[in-house]
Symmetry: C2
Subunit: 472 residues, 2 copies
């Protein structure tokens, strides 16, 4: 949590309110209350609905109007149509609202009338000191304060962590969060910014850059209204923590769609790429890569970025019991700008002592099926490799132990990484039926990727980040 930001009450409210709460499960006002009560928030949440005044919804007393709630609520969710927003904002201000989530569409994305309404909402909100999340959005989450101010209760299932996500598309944002949940990546804050009435990327980047609960900032962008403000904020925040950007909408058809979706103009890809380089952000090509890159950068956010001499490529060591996947990691890393340095003569002499017969002591190191069972070999290999100054990262490839009961020794492996202050990751190939095996390794500090291509890409992107940090 930041100190004294105007956004603090939005992300860390004492109480909340659902304006337009409903008893009907297919209404957003029902789902929003379900979501709000599933996040673990310690404060109160007030359901507001004229037709349910005095009754209980989900065991919580409902009020007929905002004015009737007995305490202030800093964050309110408006599950009401666009034509009732202005009045509700005025009532909300009287009850201490500092942040309001607006789900409804019908604003600048729908033509002149909508633009006029959006302008009026902006003026009103600015005058009342309220920050608007949306409209035309799915809301916001802050796992560090138990807040799920969306209409998607399953977003509460994602674990608490250091990755914050700001998305211009609610659908894509929600899909990013569920992809994080599927890959055991911890979320800090999520904001679906929708039409950006008075809260845009720049201000959120400033806030998240200073937020102690955020290690990595992820952005899904369709098009920027104010590129200059974005660059200024990103340039400053990327000095403190990585910013990863995924953007879609560069083809002719998609630029047209993007315009009608959130009303934002898209410039050419070249212009955006130049801006992102200037801003020091890491650009990725799909949101699976966004999630994997955030996972590795967040897992090792406490480690120092290695100092690299100009032109030097960071070195990656790869260990395996099955050569094919190691081949894929190595190729992906090399294509992504990393090196696969050989082991020193001394290391090689030590490797042949613990590795099985026929082992060729080179990097990548294939220790055959023996290492699948006798997993200590991974620890010995990682310790030797990371002791070399030209090796900066360890990546172990391991097939899930299935029903045989073997487990990758993740906790000890992570300790070796910590001893050298160098990232140690695992390409842990297992079906989702073995998710617990992956999650245990993640939680022990050895982040996992369930395919060698994903592991290699994540490593290559961490290397890109390091190289950016090493530029004068």
């Amino acid at each position: 949590m930041n100190k004294k930001s105007t956004l603090d009450p939005v992300f860390y409210p004492e109480n909340g309110a659902i304006v337009g709460a409903s008893e009907n499960p297919i209404k957003l006002g029902y789902q929003a209350l379900l979501a709000a009560t599933s996040g673990g928030h310690k404060g109160k949440v007030f359901p507001i609905s004229p037709s349910l005044a005095g009754k209980e919804i989900m065991g919580i007393k409902a009020y007929g109007s905002i004015e009737e709630i007995p305490e202030d609520a800093q964050l309110m969710v408006f599950a009401i149509p666009h034509n009732r927003i202005l009045d509700a904002l005025k009532s909300a201000a009287k009850k201490g609202a500092k942040g309001v989530v607006i789900f409804a569409g019908g604003f600048r994305e729908v033509g002149d009338e909508g633009k006029a309404l959006q302008r009026e909402v902006k003026e009103t909100a600015d005058r009342l000191g309220i920050k608007i999340i949306g409209p035309n959005c799915i809301g916001t989450v802050n796992t560090h304060h138990g807040i799920n101010a969306t209409f998607a209760q399953p977003l509460s299932l994602v674990k608490k962590g250091g990755v914050s996500v700001v998305s211009q598309s609610g659908g894509t944002g929600s899909a990013i969060i569920t992809t994080m949940a599927d890959n055991n990546v911890g979320l800090s804050k999520f904001v679906s910014i929708g039409n950006r009435v008075n809260l845009d990327f720049a201000e959120l980047i400033d806030y998240l850059g200073d937020d102690d609960d955020t290690d990595v900032i992820c952005l899904f962008i369709e098009g920027l209204d104010d590129g200059r403000a974005f660059i200024k904020s990103a340039k400053s925040a990327s000095k403190k923590k990585p910013i990863i950007v995924y953007q879609a909408g560069f083809t002719e058809t998609t630029r047209r769609l993007s315009l009608s979706h959130t009303g934002s103009m898209s410039a050419s890809k070249d212009i955006y790429m130049a801006a992102y380089r200037q801003a020091g952000v890491l650009f990725v090509n799909d949101y699976e890569e966004l999630v994997d890159t955030a996972k590795i950068l967040s897992a090792f956010s406490d480690f120092p970025v290695p100092r690299l001499s100009p032109g030097a490529k960071p070195g990656v060591s790869i260990f395996t019991h099955t050569a094919g996947p190691a081949l894929i990691v190595a190729e992906t890393v090399e294509n992504g700008g990393g090196a696969i340095p050989d082991f020193t003569k001394e290391s090689k002499e030590k490797i042949v002592k613990f590795a099985p017969q026929f082992t060729v002591p080179t990097n990548p190191l294939d220790m055959f099926a023996h290492a699948w069972f006798m997993t200590d070999m991974y620890l010995e290999a990682a310790d030797l490799a990371l002791s070399q100054s030209n090796i900066h990262i360890a990546c172990s490839c391991y097939s899930g132990g299935f029903e045989m009961g073997m487990k990758f020794p993740a906790a000890k492996y992570a300790e070796i990484g910590k001893k050298y202050n160098k990232p140690a990751v695992v390409c842990l190939m297992a079906p989702y039926a073995h998710f617990e095996e992956r999650a245990a390794a993640d939680d022990a500090g050895a982040p996992t990727f369930n395919s060698p291509h994903k592991a290699g890409k994540a490593i290559a992107n961490m290397i890109r980040w390091w190289q950016m940090k090493n530029r004068p």
Copy 2:
């Protein structure tokens, strides 16, 4: 099943045997028996172990030697060390073995001595009329005959289907199968070919090309020994069904690793790409893409490939309740060689009648959150779009209905595709906790992809396949 191929008894054996069966769960001979008995095979499987003769393992009577088994076994799994293979082969031949899986390493990948042994195994097997799967492999699966002749019982969890996989790497092969299971893609046959003693890609491609249980052939290649034979077989089989290739090992380090792994030399990427073009195979860049591409091509293997005039791009229509993901699908399709044609004037007039207020009736078609609840809009839109001659594919983007109970109307949607003989796919974004929702749509004939990037890539690759088929 083919008629009268020498490989029929390998993939459709009457009985099987596990040579080197064990009671110790961390032995491959235990896991192999577990796998063999989990596939649903109707025939017998004989555990063979000198120390367990006459006892029961997993409730099955064990025999002291191959010679002692009471019936012939056409497929045998050798879970024994490399130095016992030759003798076992001779015994196996006496009991009708036509196929033998060899897990052990210690052959051509380990130097001159291993090369000599491999040569001897090849000569013996050829003389005895036995096809060797391996050595240095994880075995084979045939879901259409209940066969799991690997040491990985979880490979039995993948559903039966039309996609066959041949992998030079056991670890990568196993990871491909578990990725198929995670994405509900049906497997036909899996072969981990390892060192390829007397069974290589070419012969398997010939066999699978004629196999009625196989719609799509997937290959993971590290390097080919006999490029000419490969091209000849692939050229012939790709006339009958798609062949998808993923290959790793093109960087300097990985070429070295590949050599030590399976002993195969890798040529440059350019040479391989030229060969693959000549052979009519579809090259992909990672195995997630391999699985997604196989999924879409297998799902629509009964549909005719559309005739395209030279230079014409197949058209894709996209429907959504949330614009961001549609943007990603459109961009991926356009970058991959597809078009996003606009709707006709007549269609537009019809769209504005059923779509919600403010809908802009263009392709991609955003029908706002209304369509999330009132899913019939997807059906009306797909029917209109697919009736256009310049639109060949429908893609619907849908967020899982979470706890609200909405479901994408997959069965009716698939029917519309069938009516026009045009593929209708769903980008169904949901966490793995909602896997059943995806599987139900898949099984109804509307294959799902859980991210817009994956959906777009799969569509683009199907389009690439169509374009290859349209070349004179």
